[in-house]
Symmetry: C7
Subunit: 102 residues, 7 copies
Amino acid sequence: MAQAFKRFMPLADRILVQKLKAEAKSAGGILLPDSAKQEMNQAKVLAVGLGRRNQQGEIIPMQTKVGDIVVIPRYGGTEIKLDEEEYQIYRDEDIVGVIKEE
Amino acid sequence: MAQAFKRFMPLADRILVQKLKAEAKSAGGILLPDSAKQEMNQAKVLAVGLGRRNQQGEIIPMQTKVGDIVVIPRYGGTEIKLDEEEYQIYRDEDIVGVIKEE
Amino acid sequence: MAQAFKRFMPLADRILVQKLKAEAKSAGGILLPDSAKQEMNQAKVLAVGLGRRNQQGEIIPMQTKVGDIVVIPRYGGTEIKLDEEEYQIYRDEDIVGVIKEE
Amino acid sequence: MAQAFKRFMPLADRILVQKLKAEAKSAGGILLPDSAKQEMNQAKVLAVGLGRRNQQGEIIPMQTKVGDIVVIPRYGGTEIKLDEEEYQIYRDEDIVGVIKEE
Amino acid sequence: MAQAFKRFMPLADRILVQKLKAEAKSAGGILLPDSAKQEMNQAKVLAVGLGRRNQQGEIIPMQTKVGDIVVIPRYGGTEIKLDEEEYQIYRDEDIVGVIKEE
Amino acid sequence: MAQAFKRFMPLADRILVQKLKAEAKSAGGILLPDSAKQEMNQAKVLAVGLGRRNQQGEIIPMQTKVGDIVVIPRYGGTEIKLDEEEYQIYRDEDIVGVIKEE
Amino acid sequence: MAQAFKRFMPLADRILVQKLKAEAKSAGGILLPDSAKQEMNQAKVLAVGLGRRNQQGEIIPMQTKVGDIVVIPRYGGTEIKLDEEEYQIYRDEDIVGVIKEE
């Protein structure tokens, strides 16, 4: 069976992302209780829409691409569940930034 | 008697959808109690409007078509009941994405 | 005396409608208690305005016409009472769809 | 002394109206207690402004005129009192319709 | 010392007004208790700004002038106190009408 | 050391002001308790931005200049503290008026 | 390992800043308890986006640059944590001003 998210096609300027899992260990290697795991606001881009059109009917290029690690805003977005996995959908312009590989 | 939804014609850029039924069994085949059935945010498109016009009076093409399985937003939409069946109406631009067939 | 609604002329893109009465009997023919009668969101169009003008001063054509059975949104609209009958007024663009005759 | 409202000149697209008094008798001629008198949403137009200008600086014609019986929206409007009489002020575009003479 | 308000110059399309004092006597000449004095929504215009500019950079002419008795809206406006006297500031377009001299 | 506010450069159409101190004595020369000191809405302009640009990219001239005594709105603005002194920042268009010297 | 913030690229007209730390000592050199440390609204700019485009598709130049000490608004912004350090992201146009070096 294909990965469920591969069957999802975001419309207009929406992107499908999945939040990165917070480390279950502290920097020093100690296992963290659940309350110590911070809410992650980093996510991986899994699918991107074709972009929305401006008032002249031209497509505005997307800023994000599949594979990017992005910082998502604290509010907004739509949750979806595909084959027991949680994903989020945002509009491209709501993504605050991209984290480059080291 | 024709199916009730076939008599409904959405205006402008609205679409008529019906939510997919959540599985009543878990992945392992166990019957789920009602509280465990998640609120579905996937729906099937049953009818689409002609589209709304932009400021130049041209019709903006619809992104969804009859038969599509779509992801609907968590809020918004209008509920209607036709011959004892529940349907929902959304604007085309509020649909977050389409789920392709496997 | 003419029917009261015939004296009412909606302004701009407004339409005058009257909600259809919910069936007082269930599908099986049993008389329903008041609590079981669902709030109807279908209505008959009784009068339509001339339409509102766009920024170029041209009249935008109305989507509904007298006699249409329409689905009205759950919120909004203005109630009026003419000769002891209740009516509702909506803007044409707030009407979600039209129900065609079988 | 001239009637107070005759000294009032609405600015831009505003109109001065006075609510019609609700009948103190029921249709069958019985005197109604105060609680049974419905809040009237019909009013008589007493004065109209010159109209507001569009972005090209042209005056948008008013839809209502002095003497019209109009249906006013449930919310909005400004109350004023001139020589002990209550009046209301609305914008022309907020008036939902006109009631024609029989 | 000049009257304080004469030193105040409203910016853009703002106007400086002072509310008229409510009559302390009823129409029949009886002194009214404080609770019977209605909140006045009539005011005298004491100073007017030069007007705000439209998107083409042209000044939109003011509708009110110094000396006008105007009806002010129930909400909005900014209170200022100059040399122990209370004044109010409104935008010209928020003034609902002008009361002409008898 | 230069006065702290001299190091602050407001961006776009913002201005830096400092509220005037309320008189600690009444008009009759009596020292006022703190509760009797009214909240001042007059302020001195200490720095002004270059102005914001309109949609054509042209800078809209500022209405206020350094040294002006201005009336500030009751709400809005941003508080900043520089070297233990309190200042406020407003947008030029939110300033309601200027108080001229006698 | 590179500093985490160096891997973050703000999108459009966003900037990455880090709040300056409040002095832990009073002006007189006394160590301050935590409650006396004021919430800082000054921050250092660490990264800036390329700018957003206007309706004509042209990039609007950024007002801030890396290294600037800026005054941030009291509300808004997005918090992010990179390698255990807290940062904030704002839109360039929400920055109220720049503090110049003495």
